[in-house]
Assembly symmetry: C2
Homo-oligomer: 338 residues x 2
């Protein structure tokens, strides 16, 4: 079922059918009606590959995904969902690309073979060759996250430094003097993940400002690691009274560790961090945290990308978000301080 068949049955030429569909040239009411009729009867839809070949646009955007194999976090899930949804509103499909260990193969498929009109990158590193590469190529893309030099790029990011600082100040205001920082896995820190680095920076800086005694930890992205990490924290310094975490996946494990050490949250120990809202609410007591607005970020990324696709010469734009801390139930004054 192709455009030629439609044309034949409607008694017109292929180009007339094309114009009737696109509206790029006037077509008489009578023929338009006839064509519509035939199309509706046969349930015709133009072939996407042929269209893409002819006009150079695929109506597809690539979502470059965190490496498979590692665990996905709830935040990433929210990103994906919101990107897909926002893209659909603009009539774009979303092609997933696992930018795995050899990011190259899948990456080359997307760009080299022209499968997508533009790309959204997740899990940005401070020095990110993917971002640099795309910038060099002038390929339309938007990053969810910032590299070390975000000035001339398109991105939507979270101010991890400010958020970690806010968490520290929140705990310090409650009287905590000895706190710990639970970061993403060491391997990600070493790879230069921006959230891990900027978060750590913010934590360290704010702790110094407030004169707090701190220890920082890397923790695997799963519950067992979280539990182990908490045990280390209390072993290293039993006088610790609070922690800040960026590690959503470890949260359940951290809580379990506290429960098993007999520390009651928030009476004996305060927990806070940077976590997507719906996941902060699944733990008991509910986590006081800077809620990552994942849906909003996904939507903004798509908005920026579509804007960039529509007018290729717009100067770079970006959004830096710093959501406030939502007070829930996991933090409180240090015992004896209130």
């Amino acid at each position: 079922m192709n455009i030629g068949e439609i044309a034949r049955r409607a008694g017109v030429s292929r180009s007339t059918v094309s114009y009737a569909l696109s509206g790029k040239r006037p077509v008489s009411d009578a023929t338009r009606r006839k064509i519509r009729e035939v199309i509706d009867e046969l349930g015709y839809r133009p072939n996407a590959s042929a269209r893409a070949l002819a006009n150079g646009r695929t109506s597809t955007i690539g979502l470059v995904f965190p490496p498979a194999g590692t665990h996905y976090t709830g935040m990433q899930l929210d990103f994906i969902g919101s990107v897909v949804e926002a893209a659909a509103a603009y009539d774009y499909d979303v092609l997933l690309s696992p930018s795995g260990v050899d990011s190259d193969r899948s990456f080359q498929r997307l760009l080299g073979e022209r499968r997508v009109d533009g790309a959204i990158l997740m899990e940005i590193r401070l020095a990110d060759d993917r971002v640099d590469h795309l910038a060099d190529l002038g390929f339309p893309s938007v990053a969810i996250g910032r590299t070390a030099h975000p000035e001339r790029g398109w991105w939507v990011g979270l101010d991890h430094t400010a958020l970690a600082q806010a968490c520290v100040h929140h705990l310090a205001d409650l009287g905590h003097r000895r706190i710990a920082f639970v970061n993403r896995p060491e391997q990600l820190l070493r790879a230069g993940y921006e959230s891990a680095h900027r978060g750590l920076d913010g934590f360290t800086k704010a702790a110094a400002e407030r004169g707090l005694t701190v220890r920082t930890y890397n923790c695997g992205d799963d519950a067992a690691s979280g539990q182990a990490c908490l045990e280390r924290i209390l072993r290293d310094d039993p006088a610790t009274t609070g922690l800040v975490t960026l590690n959503e996946a470890a949260l359940g494990g951290l809580y379990r560790g506290l429960a098993q050490a007999g520390r009651h949250v928030p009476r004996d120990f305060s927990v806070t961090g940077v976590v997507a809202g719906r996941w902060a609410e699944t733990v008991t007591p509910q986590l006081t945290a800077a809620d990552v607005p994942a849906e909003q970020m996904g939507r903004l990324a798509v908005d920026l990308l579509v804007e960039r696709l529509d007018n290729p010469d717009t100067p770079p734009r970006n959004h830096l978000l710093a959501p406030p801390i939502s007070l829930r139930a996991s933090t409180g004054p240090v015992f004896g301080t209130a």
Copy 2:
């Protein structure tokens, strides 16, 4: 940069370049080397749309996604990740399609416009028009889940009936006589979601066999609903001593409800259900549950789909999985029974 340009620079015809790349006809060593050289120098990659148009295959599979707007569960995330990963191993890309309220629009894009070679469907309903529609069309697809009449289809499913029964027997063996069932939201049950229906069936049947006193509940897919649901359970029958849940997203809320009612798990109250392993381990105490092997299911679905794409006339195949219950820490004998 197209195949004609490569041909020109290598001093051969376009078809020779094509044959050198595909290997479908012999090409002399000398020309092959020359062509390789030019291609490597220019970083040429054949245009995916043109190739798809010419040979009728897009090397893309569609993943038809649960309706956006509702919450995604961790299990769904695991499916998506494993499907993408498995597809990449076969050199297929994955196109996401939110089969939203008007499933039609996005669905038509995928199939009608020939964007994908095949599709994997998630969130199957007992009477699922998508499945029927694809079967009528003979379109290669694999469902993750079973309709009411799965005999002649391609799918990989979970034996929800058996799993729910196993949960009931587990609780009954521990001496529980009054238990509750926490199902997915009522709206999903009404829509005919297979997990909700088959799970409920299994629960009801097994409870009758063992002569248990039961109540069944629908619960929203979030922590707040879980908490509210648990409060209702204890209000409706304070003598309830255990529950079975299919609702992963509500789990945190159920635990919170129990904690606030002063019921200790597993001493005063046992919790079990059907939940993906990594999420069962984030709660404290860790959930004794039938672990949904989401990664395996995603991989199997891709395997089946690729098999079907490679030889279109194979008779339908399927995999019905029934993982055993993993004993963790959330169930125990009824107080006074042990």
